[in-house]
Amino acid sequence: MSIALAERRSPAIDIHADGDSLALAGVLDVRTLPEVERAIGQRTKGGKSQPIDLANLSALDTPGALFLCGLRKQGVELTGVRSEHSALLELICSLDLRPLPSVPRVPRWRAVIIEIGKGGDEALKDARDIITFIGRTASATLEALIRPRGLQLASISRQVAETGIDALPIVGLMAIMISVVIAYQSVAQLRLYGAESLTINLVAISMLREMGVLITAIMVAGRSGSAFTAEIGVMKAREEIDALNVMGLDPMRLLVVPRLIGLVITLPLLTFYADIVGLFGGAMAVQALLHVAPMQFLEHVRGAVDTRDLLVGLVKAPVFACFIAIIGCMHGLRVRGSAASVGRETTRAVVKAIFLVIVLDALFSVLFEQVGW
């Protein structure tokens, strides 16, 4: 029985001229078609159409039938069509065959201009959306805080657990790695001036003021911002948001506010944790590099930084948290229809959240410099 399969692998077609007519024998299918098309094309080039005999055709598929129908329309007579092929041939010949409509081509330079225009329009719409959404979130949050009965405490605590507690291992690991990197990089440079001991200052200040909060915020944007978009997006795609609206429940209050409040609670705590773990990592690196004992390191850190450095880092965290949550939820609610849209919006949300975190961090740096902190 495997003959049939073998036959499919090496189909054969035989075209031979028999006096005034052509005869096809064997398999006329998608594999032998190019050969047949070539051969018959050459023969009919002269303009006179020879009848084609199909009595010895053992197999015919739709591409073959399409080809034969094309010949028939040119006036070629098909003879000896087997009964098992006639139904197929009739069906294909009866189709009203038209070529695929062509997609209008846009010249490259115009496509570029169109893209730029679309991008600009998109950016404008995005900015407007963000501002509107910030306003809506703010009003919903204030309303929830004024009337705490509407506050979803269970939901908030779940958010704190998911965005905070579950993130502890990865944030801690990142903080250690970053402080080790800073320690190794600065030791190599400071050694040139014999000021290796300043490595400790550098590690402590950069961890507390910048790196701790930045690393945590980027990690949380990637972890939780994307989760917000995906969760809300799936709900949107499956009409769950519409169901909430129909039942007179506000998605902003039920879905957005708990996530926002949860993240605003979590991110400063995570940042503080990252600072501590980062200093711990710095202590290990400095011990390996400069043979400074951890207790000495701590002593040195106390002299190098003050509470203000810690606060500069921590103050940024709630602001970052607001933006990460707002961007994540906004893109979730922007999902339209299909599952593909969820993926697209999630990617956009993460990129935008990380971008915004870094922009805000730069603005904060300028601000603190002006204030003199």
Binding site: A4, V30, P34, L88, D96
Partner: protein, 266 residues
């Protein structure tokens, strides 16, 4: 229907056992699909219809048992051979959303044949026409199509390489009755004219009564295969409820009157 040499099964499953954890779905199932027939597969929710379909097409490896196509185990057929053998219409269409309908149809051709592009385009236009879609839907994208059109486009893609067996997973679900009847007619047409063997998983009793010659019923982890008129006399409670429930009676009436009408026209 095209009459062929002795009814050697084109596809045969022997002793199929499927199990998910402790939950046994199929217990030593045998099933033969005869060339040129339209076989219906029915069963209650969770009776493993989709799993059986996946097992038959080699997408799912059963715990025990074997599926053979023309005597060759299905897992030993190479990709190109499988593409030429099987066409599958997935329940949601599974059209590639980034490709237009015509590109969807041309994708298997591009990878499994050496046809020139203009020939592929002509063939794609033909398959789209064959599936009953207007010619200009070829450049449309799946998200622009209605439910019935998605099914037809998926049909066109399943037919791209002229498969010998067409597997249909709920071809008429989510469709209004007019569109569903159109799909039934299309299945029958393809079966009659192209001689394609069709295996159709369905809940739609009208489909079952109008186009299926034999029906496989999945009940109690086993399978009962018989002609529909003989299944109507079955004493198994589920089969009886399924075929003789209010929906079953309605569908039977509808199918009968439809047949009478079509005979009248002829």
């Amino acid at each position: 229907m095209v009459s062929r040499a002795p009814a050697q099964p084109i596809l045969s499953a022997r002793g199929i056992v499927n199990r998910f954890g402790r939950h046994e779905v199929h217990d030593r199932i045998d099933l033969d699909v005869l060339p040129g027939e339209i076989l219906g597969i029915v069963g209650g929710s969770g009776s493993g219809k989709s799993v059986l379909l996946k097992t038959l097409t080699g997408l799912h490896r059963p715990v025990r048992g074997e599926v053979r196509v023309d005597g060759t185990p299905v897992d030993r057929i190479d990709a190109a051979g499988k593409a030429a053998l099987f066409g599958v219409l997935f329940q949601q269409g599974a059209l590639f959303s980034s490709l237009s309908v015509a590109q969807n149809v041309m994708l298997p051709m591009r990878h499994h044949t050496r046809l020139p592009v203009d020939m592929q385009e002509r063939l794609a236009a033909m398959k789209i026409e064959l599936a009953g879609l207007p010619a200009d839907s070829g450049i449309q994208f799946p998200h622009q199509l209605s439910g019935g059109m998605v099914k037809r486009a998926a049909f066109a893609r399943a037919l791209a390489l002229d498969p010998r067996i067409l597997f249909l997973d709920e071809p008429t679900s989510d469709l209004d009755s007019v569109t569903a009847s159109g799909i039934d007619a299309l299945i029958e047409q393809l079966n009659r004219s192209l001689g394609i063997t069709v295996v159709v998983v369905t809940h739609d009793l009208t489909t079952l009564f109008t186009i299926c010659r034999r029906v496989a019923v999945l009940v109690d982890r086993k399978i009962v295969v018989d002609r529909i008129d003989r299944l109507l006399k079955s004493r198994h409670p589920w089969i009886r409820d399924f075929l003789h429930g209010p929906r079953g009676e309605g569908a039977k009436l509808g199918a009968l009157s439809a047949k009478e009408q079509s005979h009248g026209i002829r």
